[in-house]
Symmetry: C2
Amino acid sequence: MGWGDLGVFGEPSKETPNLDQMASEGMLFLDFYTANPLCSPSRAALLTGRLPVRNGFYTTNGHARNAYTPQDIVGGIPDSELLLPELLKKAGYINKIIGKWHLGHRPQFHPLKHGFDEWFGSPNCHFGPYDNTERPNIPVYRDWEMIGRYYEDFKIDLKTGEANLTQLYLQEALDFISKQQASQHFFLYWAIDATHAPVYASKQFLGTSQRGLYGDAVREIDDSIGKILKHLQQLGISQNTFVFFTSDNGAALISAPKQGGSNGPFLCGKQTTFEGGMREPAIAWWPGHIPAGGVSHQLGSVMDLFTTSLSLAGLQPPSDRQIDGIDLLPVILQGKLIDRPIFYYRGNELMAVRAGLYKAHYWTWSNSWEEHSKGIDFCPGQNVSGVTTHTQEEHTYLPLLFHLGRDPGEKYPLSFASEEYQRAMGTISALLQQHKDTLVPGQPQLNVCDRAVMNWSPPGCEKLGKCLKAPESAPQKCSWPH
Amino acid sequence: MGWGDLGVFGEPSKETPNLDQMASEGMLFLDFYTANPLCSPSRAALLTGRLPVRNGFYTTNGHARNAYTPQDIVGGIPDSELLLPELLKKAGYINKIIGKWHLGHRPQFHPLKHGFDEWFGSPNCHFGPYDNTERPNIPVYRDWEMIGRYYEDFKIDLKTGEANLTQLYLQEALDFISKQQASQHFFLYWAIDATHAPVYASKQFLGTSQRGLYGDAVREIDDSIGKILKHLQQLGISQNTFVFFTSDNGAALISAPKQGGSNGPFLCGKQTTFEGGMREPAIAWWPGHIPAGGVSHQLGSVMDLFTTSLSLAGLQPPSDRQIDGIDLLPVILQGKLIDRPIFYYRGNELMAVRAGLYKAHYWTWSNSWEEHSKGIDFCPGQNVSGVTTHTQEEHTYLPLLFHLGRDPGEKYPLSFASEEYQRAMGTISALLQQHKDTLVPGQPQLNVCDRAVMNWSPPGCEKLGKCLKAPESAPQKCSWPH
C-alpha cells in the first residue's frame, strides 16, 4: 500500500473511513519510512529494529539490487538476530503473527523458532497458481504445520479477484484478541498479504470501490482495521493497547492501473529509493494516551516500531548490537521531535540520505533499460531528467540534493553552487560518514537460490497428503534484476 | 492554488489547519472543477454561471488557446451578461468584491457597473514592477476610483517576497462583514491575488512554511480564512452565512519549485485540461445546515456557485439564456448526487468531457514544442506518451478515455477495443452531441489588444497625481501562445 492510498493522505476517492478515523483519534505520521523499498527486507527490519544491511536481508549478487524471499531462496532470518517477539516474551507477552512471514521458509526460519507463539499465514507471497511439479503452491500454516496451500485449499480466483483471505486473517485477529483480553499481554503482528499483486478481495467488497479491484482490497483492509479497533474498544482494552498502522513499501506502480496503488505526490514507487518507494502511510492509535488528531513531522521508520514496542513493554533494546530504530514514545505522547536521519538502502547500497527536509541522492536508479524495454516501469508517467535514471548513476562526489518541503516530488535538484546546497550537504555528509564508519554489514542471506528448498514438503504435509517430491539440490546465485 | 495544496487533500506538509477544520465542519468536494484552466475565464464563469465560450471569455485568435485579461486587452465582461451580484441585488443583497476582478479594466467593465456595490482590489494580476512608460503599474481601486498602484503605493518586494496585500484584503473582509452583520444580506466575493506568481506573503508568515514562499502564502490564506470564519461565528451569523472555498485553476507548475503549488496525484497543472489544471480544492461551510465532516463525489463546478447562491437567496437563474451551473443545495444539504457532465474547455475548443468516472479527451495538448524549448513546462517531471502532447492532437474520432477512479493521474488510456470503452463512450458521445447541438458561442472578448487601453489613467488618478499618458491606439490581435 502506498502513502497516497488513504483518504487522509489525499486519495481522491476517499474510501478509507476507518483509517481516516483512526488518524483523527490518534496521530498521523507524514514523514514515516520503510527501511527498504521491498517486502522481505522491510519486514526483517521491522522485527529486528535493524537495517537489512545489518540483519542480512540483502544481496551482494549485484550492486544495489532489491532481493526478497521467493520459494527458492536458501537464506532467511539468522538465528543471531533478536526479533521483537523474542524480546517481548521476556516481559510475559504472547506473540502471534497473522499473514505473510517472508523471513525465510526453511525449518530453521519458522516464526515459532523466532519468538512467535502462534502463526496463521504463509511464508511467501501468494503468487500462483503453480503446477506443483515445476513449483509447489505456497503453503498456509497454522502454528508449526501447514494446513493447506494457496489456490488449492485457500482459493484465490485470479479471474474475478475473489479471495476471502483478508476475512480469514481478520477473524483470526479478532479471535486471538478475544482470547487474551485483559488477562494477558499480547503482541499481534497483523501482516496481511493484501494489497500485494495478484490483488484480491472478498465477495462483499468486490466492485465496491471507485478504484477497481485494488480499491476493493484497500476497502476491505480499512474495514478490517475498523473492526479490530472496535473490538479492542468493546473488550474494554483499547486504552491498554497500542496500535500502529503502516505499510512495508510504497505502492507497486508496476502493477498499475489494474492492481497498482497510489504514492500521492511522490516520485516513483516500490523498488525505488525515491519517496514513492519508501515513504509510508503511518498512524499511531492509543485512546486516552495519544492526543486525538495529532500530526507529526517526526522522521520515522518501521524500525522504530521495534524500539517503541520494547519501550512500551518496559524493555531496553539489545545493547550488544547496533539498533537503528528509535523510541517514538516521546514523539507520540509528548509531541517531541527527535533529530535523526533516514537512510535509503537498495540492496547493498546506501542510495540516499534524508536529514530534516533535505534528501541527498548518492546513487539514482529506477530500473535497467533492459527491464524497462520489457514494460517494467517503476515510475509510469514520470520522468525526471537525470533523476529517474535507467542506468545506475553515481553521484557520490556531488549528490543530487532535494528540499522535500518545497519539492516533495523530487523534481528540482538544488543548484550545486548554492549556499543552501553547501550548508545542507555539510550536515548530511557528516551523518553519512558517521553511519559508514560504524556500519558492520551482516552476512547477506539473499544470495543463494535452490529449487530443492521450495515448499515441496512443509511440516504437516503428510497428514494432508500434500507432500511433493523435491528436485535434486542445485544451489546457484539468485538473479535479482532490479 | 491546486487540489493538492491543502492538508485535507494530502499536501505532505499539512499546513492548512483552518481549511482542514473548515472541511471537518462542512463538506469536502473531491470532484470539483473550474470552467477553464486559467484565471479570467474561470472567474467570468463563476460570476455568470456560464461557460467562457458562452459568456465571451475566450479567444478565436488561435485554436484551443488560453486567454485572459492583461492590461492591453480591449474586451471584458459584456453588458449582456448577468452577473451573480446583479441578480442578488434584487433580493436586497449588498455585494462586495475584494481582490482581483479580472473581467476587464476599461470603464464599461468596472465591477460596480456589473452589480457590485463595493470594490477593494485590482483589475489585473499583480505583475510588475513596470516603468510607467512602456507599461503602467496595476492600479488598486477602492470602489469607483484608484487609490494607488502596485509596487508604488502597495508594496510587493520581489526579492524578499514580502507584501501585506492578503492582510489588507483580510481586514477589508472583516470590516465589511462587521458592517453588515445581521441586519443586511450580503455577498462577499473574496477573490484575493495570492497564491499567483509573483508569490508573496506578509512578514509574519515569511519563512514559516516547510514549502518555501509559496507555502508561506498558502499559510497566510489559510490563516485568513480561519479568521473570517471565526468572525462570522463571533458575530453570531455563521448559521446564516454560506461560505464556499475554491480556486480558479490548478496550481501553476510552471512556477515550481519556488513559486509553484501542488495538484496532488493529478496530471499537469494550470493552462491544461488534464485533471491537474482543472480539478480544484473545494469546501462548503454552513454550520447548523451542512452536516459536519461530509464528503461529496458530486461533479461540481465553479459555475454551480452562481446557481447555488441564487437558490440560497430564493432566486431563480435567468431563463433567457443557457446556464451551465446547477444548484448544489440538494447535494450539500441532503447528500444527493446529481448526474451531470463536466466540459473541459481550452479557449474555443472542448478538449475533454467527464461523465461519472470516465473522462474522454477529444484533444490533447500541454504546450507547443517551441514554448517547451524555452523552458515553459506545464507538466514538469510528467510525461505520458500520447497524452501530454506538445502538438495539438485530435482524437475526435477515437477519444482517449480514462477511468479517473482507477487512474486519477490519466496515465492509462482504456483499450479502444474494450467493452468498457464502447459503453462509456456511448454515454459521453451522447452528452457531447447534446452540448454541441445547443451551444451558442458568445462574441469572443479576448481577441483584441491595444497598448492604449492599459491602466494609464484610471478614474481617480488625477487626485493622486498618478495619471500617465497613453500611447496612440493601435489595436491588434492578441498573441496567445498556449
